[in-house]
Amino acid sequence: MSTAPDLERFRSLFEPKGIIVAGASSHPGKFGFVAAHNILAHGYAGRVFLTNREGGTILDETAYRSVDEIPDGAADLVFVCTPPASLPELLASCARKGVKAAFVSSAGFGEAGAEGLAAERALAALCAELGILLAGPNGQGIISTPVSLCAQIIAPYPPAGRIAVASQSGGFVQAFLNYARSSGVGVSRAVSAGNSASTTVADYLEYFAADAATDVSLIYVEGLADGRAFFEKARAAAARKPIVVLKGGVTAGGQRAAASHTGALATDDKVFDGMCRQAGLSRASTVEEAFEIAASFAVHPLPRGPRVFVLTTAGGWGVLTADRISQSRDLELLPLPPDLLAAFDSRLPPRWSRNNPADLAGSETRDTVLECLELAVAHADVDAVVLLGVGIQSNLGDLERRGRFYPGHGLERIVEYHERQDARYATATVELSRKYGKPVLVATELADAQPTNPGIVKLKELGSFAYASSHQAATALEHLYRYRRYRDRRGLA
C-alpha cells in the first residue's frame, strides 16, 4: 500500500544531484547499457556513477565494482538494472551512501507469479525501512527535462515542456513522448510506474500537483489496487492542476451478477467515468486524444464560458465545425452578436456568411482576417475562438513553387506573401490568446498533411500547435471548458 509521498524524496527521483546506475553494462544490447547511455548522452548535469561487478570501462566511464566505492552523499538516486536477488544488499549499500530514491527497472516481480509478488512486497518493505522512495519495479524509466534527465530504457527523449506523464504501461510513456516530439508540446517529467509496488500513479499525481515545472498531468491506468485512495489523491491534485486520464481495460469487467438492478447496471466503466467527473479528471477515449487534451491544457488558457465563435476562410470546414459545436453537450455556438455583425459588415465583402461560423469569403489578400480575428477574440460574449483556414495560402504557394513557371510571372512575390500571411495568422492566434486570456484554436488538416507549412511551423515555434481537424479542436475545448466549470462550481479559483 502506498503511503503519503515525501516530496523531498520525489525530488531525488526527478531532480537528483547524482545518479548511480547499478548493473551498468558495456554490452549495447543490455538494459544496463541502454540506461547508462541515455543518462550520459542527454546532458544530465549531475554526477553519474556506473557500477558493474567486473569493473572496467563503460561508455568512457570507469565503472565501480560496488556501490561502497562511491563517495558518500554524491548520489541520491539509483537506477537499478540488476536481478531481483541482488536488490536487498544493493539497496542497503545505496541507503548508506545517502540514496533517497530508487528506480527499479528489473523484472521478475509481481508480474511473474506468486514468488515474484512475495519478492515485490519484500522489496517495498525494505525500501520503506531504508527510507528510499521506490519507483517500479518492472518500469521503463524516468524523464525529467528541467535537469535533462533521460533515465530510461525506451525512447524518445522529448522536448522540454509543461506536461507530466505517469503510466502503468511503459509503452504509453513512449507513445506520449513521441506525441510530444511530433507536436512540439513538451514534457516536464515522465515516469513508467511499472508494478507500482509502493509508489502509485496517484502518488505521482500528488507530486506533479506540487511541482513548479508542471502545468498538467497525463496518466494511463489499468488496474487500481486501492480505488478510494486513487480517487482522493487524484481529486486533491485536480483541484490544483488539470489531469488527463486514459483508462485501459474498460470492457474487461463487463456487467456483474448482482442482486440489484443498480448493481447490474454498475459496470466498471460507468463507475470509473463517474469517479473521473467527481474528481475533476479529464477522461480521454484514445491515446492520441489523451495527449492532445493534455497539450491543450498546457498551451491554452481555460475558456471562461461555453460560447464558441468560429472563423473560417475554408467554407465547409466552418459548417462542420459549427455542427459539431451545436451538438456538443458542453459548448455553445454563440449566435452572432449584432455589434460583431456590424463590425464585420464594415470590413468584409457583402458575400461573407453574416453568421457564426463567420466565413470570411476569400478576404485573405488583405488584413481583414486579422482584424476580424481580433474583433472576435476581444468580444465580451466570446469565450473561445476556432480559426479555420490557416495554411491554405501557403499550401497554394507550395503548388505554385513546384510548377514550371516559378519564380517568374510574379509567382515568387505572391508565394512569399502567402507564406508571410499564414505565419502572421498563426502568430496572431497566440498573441491574441495571451492578450485577451481566451483560447484561440487553429484547426486544419495541414497539421498532418503539410507539417512544413509556414502557418503550422510558426505555431510550433511559438509553443502552440494546430489540431488536425476541427472535431479534435472541439473535443479539446470541451475538456478545457468542463475543467473550468468543475472549478467554478466548487469555488476553486
Binding site: R228, L265, A266, F272
Partner: protein, 218 residues
C-alpha cells in the same frame, strides 16, 4: 464476498423516508379486512403487494397487484397474495399503497463497486432501463454539485424537462433524493446496495414506489 440479506419493501422504504427520500403513502396490513380499510383511508386506486424480508423479486412471482379501484378488488387481491406465499418466504404481510400517477420512471440506488466502494446511481427507469443503460454514477459521499452534474450527464437529460403535460422534474428534489441515498449508505456501513425502482416522477416530484435494501450479514 460476505453473505447478504434483504430488507422487506416496507422496511426499505421506511429507511428511505427517514433519509428524506419521498416514498408513496402506504400501510402494512395483516389481512384482507385491514387491507381494505387501509385502501379506503389512502384513497383509490391502490396497489397491493406481498411483503416480507425474504421476498426480493415480487414482479417475477406475480406478487404485485396494481390499479385496484374498490374494496372488493383489494379483498380479492389480498386473498390471492396471501395464498401465494411460500413457506420459504417466512413471515409475510400485505403492503397497500396509493397508486402514484406519473408517465416517467427513474431508477436510483446505491451499489458497491469492487474498486471504488459504495456509489450512488441515477438512471432512466422503466421497462427499457437495462437496454438503454442510461445511468450515471458517483462515489459516496455525494455533494449537491455532484448530484446536479449527475442529472446533466444522463444521455437523455431532456427527459427531465416538461413532458406530455407533466411539469419538468424538480431538480432540487431529485438531488435531495440522491444525496439522501448517499447519506443512508454512509450512515449504515452494512448497506451493500439500494434499489429504488421505480422512482416515479409525479407532478414533477420524484416518489419512491418500490425499494429494496440489501445488507451484509453481520
Amino acid at each position: 464476498m460476505p453473505a447478504t440479506r434483504t430488507l422487506s419493501e416496507f422496511e426499505s422504504k421506511q429507511r428511505l423516508a427517514a433519509a428524506g427520500i419521498p416514498v408513496a403513502a402506504e400501510r402494512l396490513c395483516a389481512d384482507q379486512r385491514t387491507a381494505e380499510s387501509a385502501a379506503v383511508e389512502l384513497g383509490f386506486p391502490v396497489a397491493v403487494k406481498l411483503c416480507g424480508d425474504a421476498i426480493a423479486h415480487k414482479t417475477e412471482r406475480g406478487l404485485v397487484r396494481l390499479g385496484l379501484r374498490d374494496g372488493e378488488g383489494v379483498r380479492l387481491a389480498a386473498a390471492e397474495l396471501l395464498a401465494a406465499a411460500r413457506p420459504a418466504d417466512g413471515p409475510v404481510a400485505l403492503l397497500v399503497a396509493r397508486m402514484v400517477a406519473g408517465k416517467r420512471e427513474l431508477i436510483a440506488g446505491c451499489a458497491t463497486d469492487p474498486t471504488f466502494g459504495r456509489c450512488v446511481m441515477l438512471g432512466i427507469g422503466g421497462i427499457f432501463a437495462e437496454i438503454l443503460a442510461d445511468v450515471v454514477f458517483r462515489l459516496v459521499p455525494l455533494s449537491r454539485v455532484d448530484g446536479h452534474e449527475m442529472l446533466e450527464e444522463l444521455t437523455h437529460r431532456a427527459w427531465l424537462g416538461a413532458f406530455r403535460g407533466e411539469p419538468a422534474v424538480d431538480r432540487e428534489q431529485l438531488v435531495d433524493a440522491l444525496v439522501g441515498l448517499s447519506r443512508l449508505a454512509e450512515q449504515d456501513r452494512a448497506i451493500r446496495s439500494i434499489d429504488v425502482n421505480p422512482l416515479i416522477i409525479a407532478e414533477g416530484r420524484p416518489v419512491a414506489v418500490d425499494a429494496l435494501i440489501e445488507l451484509e450479514e453481520a
